[in-house]
């Protein structure tokens, strides 16, 4: 866990590599290509890159048209704009007609940092997963992002991939094989299981190590695909450990926590805690400070695990 890479950078590289393999790949951005890293693709394939300017709704519709025209569009902007400003266009022009468009939204969660609450999406997973036909992927590190982008390109249908600004530890090696809809179990655990997504996977692994020192055996699962959720992995962890903690850089309402709770309560109801943004907007600050401020550190996770274990029957 030494190298740190931002998932948005991995995305930028993945696009270039994909663009070399497939000449039907086109990329759209809304004046944020320097930040979303679609600029890397734009540099190599200027004829296949379309800056639509600060017009996210138009951008989504244009991507839809390119898809009908036989292209494979990747559309990027910040998560708050992709899923907020253009939510209805994503729903009506992409998901409802079930078009093969891949929305890769960057600067998700509070680690957007200093720009503040207006730019920090804490709702995007929730509002994307509720749309029919949408697949929602939140990769945890650079290598998983690269594979997720390739998997999204192979998959036929609308995809939403959430990447971020902050540099995160590399968790996966060359032997890792990402599959849409398949969780990765780092270790099974016994006393409780943490199901995490995105940047919180690294925190979950740190929490596991903290708890190990206290004699608590915690399993860690990377739930990279929020929809379709790997329900089998969720239920197996619940049956095995009897207590679940979810962790996401997102509201505790409607995101990974919501999805896991929905699966558990219908089949294997066990004590559960949701770590995430507690139904509040983001705020300006540096990434480290914000993660502490919102209770998203490994320490916060470890505390939550101990609390939920107490509730086990």
């Amino acid at each position: 866990m030494t190298e740190k890479v931002a998932t948005r950078d991995a995305y930028g590289d993945a696009l270039v590599s994909l663009g070399k393999k497939r000449n039907d790949v086109v990329v759209l951005d809304a004046d944020l290509s320097g930040s979303t890293k679609t600029s890397k693709f734009a540099k190599v394939f200027p004829d296949r890159f379309f800056n639509i300017g600060i017009a996210e709704q138009d951008m989504m519709g244009t991507a839809a048209g390119l898809a009908i025209g036989g292209k494979l569009p990747f559309v990027s902007t910040f998560a708050v704009f992709a899923t907020g400003r253009a939510w209805e266009q994503v729903r009506q022009s992409i998901c409802y007609p079930n078009l093969n468009v891949k929305i890769v939204a960057s600067h998700s969660g509070v680690t957007v940092g200093e720009d503040g609450g207006s730019h920090q999406s804490v709702e995007d997973i929730a509002v994307m997963r509720v749309i029919p036909h949408m697949t929602v992927i939140v990769p945890a590190d650079g290598p998983e992002t690269l594979q997720a982008i390739e998997a999204a390109a192979e998959y036929k249908g609308p995809c939403y991939v959430r990447v971020g600004r902050s540099k995160v530890p590399t968790l996966f090696g060359a032997d890792y094989k990402f599959k849409i809809g398949k969780a990765h179990v780092f270790n099974e655990g016994k006393d409780a299981a943490i199901i995490a997504t995105g940047i919180m996977v690294a925190e979950a692994l740190r929490a596991r190590d903290l708890l190990k020192a206290e004699g608590i055996d915690v399993g860690v699962i990377d739930m990279a695909t929020i929809k379709p959720l790997d329900t089998d992995a969720v239920l197996a962890a619940a049956k095995r450990c009897g207590a679940i903690v979810t962790a996401e850089e997102h509201s505790i309402i409607g995101g990974l926590g919501g999805a896991v709770a929905e699966a558990l309560v219908e089949s294997v109801p066990v004590p559960m805690a949701r770590i995430g943004i507690k139904d509040t907007f983001g705020t300006s600050g540096d990434q480290e400070a914000l993660l502490k401020h919102y209770g998203l550190s490994a320490g916060d996770l470890a505390t939550a695990v101990k609390e939920v274990i107490k509730k086990k029957r």
Partner: protein, 280 residues
């Protein structure tokens, strides 16, 4: 290349038959958008039976022209045109809006052959048209993209975003049309939220603009022909139309935006359109 008198006569007759089928379909269904389907009839007839290149046996034919009904509530005129063009059987028209029908209340590309994209939420179709046009440019194909907008629809901001995109990317393979019938749901457009001056606006956004009578088949066909010669910029044809055009029962009536004819109203309209008086 210019239209002949024979062709004009045939197109006018086709438009008459399309209007008859729209009204029968809507009366049978009891739900749907009468006024905006009738105002667009001559435009859609000219597109499908004079200008556009397509193959009803191959709705996915790579060399086809594309039509986007951005004002998706006028689905009845699109469905009728598709039936006359051979994409579906005439008999299917009477299934409009019924559970399980391919003829959804607003066009659904997932089930209906000949529909490029699902529409219904206003303001979105022109962006999609731009995307198609960009794809054709990348492929260096000569396919053309047509998009039909409503005048009330021009109130949606996304339309103007798309207008900028089309001009910026020099999409001269796009020809959009506005069905400028002057009415929307809550009343006359200029009273609800004025969109005039429409011509000046599109010109200011970098489009080539033609202003025509949207019920004059010679003018419509001539404008469509002229649009093909415009280079380096997209074309907008603003069609002055009458909402409900075809019968005094509906013409100029705000209330017929989203209501359908009663049997009595259908009978009156049929007499004016000289068609049968009984719904099949």
């Amino acid at each position: 290349m210019a239209v002949t008198e024979e062709e004009l006569k045939s197109l006018r007759e086709k438009a008459r038959r399309v209007r008859i089928d729209i009204l029968k379909m809507l009366t049978e269904c009891g739900s749907g958008h009468t006024g905006g389907s009738l105002s667009a009839t001559d435009i859609v007839t000219a597109l499908y039976f004079y200008k556009m290149k397509y193959d009803p046996k191959r709705p996915d034919w790579k060399e086809r022209d594309n039509f986007i009904l951005s004002k998706g509530h006028a689905a009845p005129v699109l469905y009728t045109a598709l039936a006359h063009a051979g994409f579906i059987e005439h008999a299917e028209l009477c299934t409009l809006r019924k559970l399980g029908s391919r003829l959804q209340g607003h066009p659904d590309s997932k089930c209906m052959p000949g529909v490029e994209i699902s529409t219904g939420s206003l303001g979105q179709g022109l962006s999609v048209a731009n995307g198609l046009a960009l794809a054709h440019k990348l492929d260096k194909s000569s396919n053309r993209v047509y998009a039909l907008l409503g005048d009330g629809e021009l109130q949606e901001g996304q339309i103007w975003e798309a207008a900028m995109t089309a001009a910026h990317y020099k999409l001269d393979n796009i020809c959009a049309l506005v069905d400028n019938n002057g009415l929307q749901i809550d009343g006359p457009v200029e009273k609800v939220m004025g969109v005039e001056p429409i011509t000046d606006k599109w010109r200011a956004f970098g489009w080539e603009v033609f202003d025509i009578d949207g019920h004059d088949m010679a003018a419509i066909t001539a404008a469509l022909d002229k649009a093909e010669t415009v280079k380096g910029k997209p074309t907008m044809i603003i069609c002055r139309t009458v909402k409900g055009k075809g019968s005094k029962v509906f013409e100029g009536k705000v209330e017929f935006h989203g209501t359908t004819p009663s049997k009595e109203e259908l009978d009156i309209a049929m007499k004016e359109l000289s068609g049968e008086t009984v719904c099949k």
